[in-house]
């Protein structure tokens, strides 16, 4: 991702709570698919964060945390759900121009990026 101008003052901690979609509920252990967003040098950090907020309804804090995870670690699991759910999210992300893939939750990436803060709402 690229930071073209500045994130501006609105990166501060926010108390606003997003209206999280049902895929944001990460409690069910039997939900087997992940939506992964990959880093690229083109998409603006602000835009990625905006997409996470407006599409998934994530809070500003959660959206920024996931965006930074994509930027620093190269990828982040941003939603879980059934195969159909995450595929639908992937198409939506492609519509926004984000680089998204789906994968089985156990598919060898060792939960990279999904670990701490999992299930914590902003």
């Amino acid at each position: 991702m690229t930071l073209s101008v500045a994130l501006g003052p609105d990166t501060q901690e926010s108390t606003q709570t997003g209206t999280a979609s049902s895929t944001d509920v990460l409690t069910a252990p039997d939900i087997p698919w992940n939506l992964v967003i990959w880093n690229d040098p083109v998409n603006l950090m602000s835009y990625v964060s905006y997409v996470f907020r407006s599409y998934f309804g994530y809070s500003e804090a959660k959206a920024n945390k996931l965006m930074l995870e994509v930027h620093k670690k190269g990828r982040s699991i941003v939603a879980h759900g059934s195969k159909e759910q995450v595929e639908q999210h992937a198409v939506a992300m492609h519509g926004y121009g984000l680089w998204a893939t789906v994968e089985k939750a156990s598919s060898g990436h060792g939960g990279n990026g999904s670990g701490k803060g999992k299930g914590k709402r902003g």
Binding site: D10, P41, S46, Y47, S54, A100
Partner: protein, 186 residues
Amino acid sequence: MAKAFKYGLKGITGYLEPAERDLLRSLFDDVISMLEPEERANQDPLAALVGLDTEAREPSDRALRRLLPNVMKDDDKASLEFRRYTERSLRESKIGALKAAALGLDKDELVLTPADARHWSTALNDVRLVLAERLDIRDDADAEHVHRMQDWSQAEDVESYLALVYNFTTWLQESLVQAMLASLEA
């Protein structure tokens, strides 16, 4: 000179010079023509109507592959299957946003509804993804190198011209996204 988008009482507003609007219109048109599905003589019209494209292939062009990526990293077969069911409508929704943004270029003063702003932000993003492939931006260092190109009087070859165009669209998209983020707070 263009003015940055901002969020205010009238919604999201911006201003572009005629030359800037012409430039954006041609960029939007270029991406539209890349995305337009080829019409095939033997195509099943009913399948096309429901968005199914049994002939869909992973694009050979890098830029188009970035706009229409595989849905699975390590499974080309499943990705192709998925592409056949989804790619046509993805192309159409991208074309729709690009056309909507292009239509808004008829006036110097831009006043964007929330839907307009969404179309503009995805249209600008798709344009930037294509330009970035043409400029061979592969990592953050490449992006930084291109970003340093800011002086139009230095535009002496196609690459430096493309870099300036890329930086202009980056600046415009960033200002739009900041305005959209401000509108989320309101």
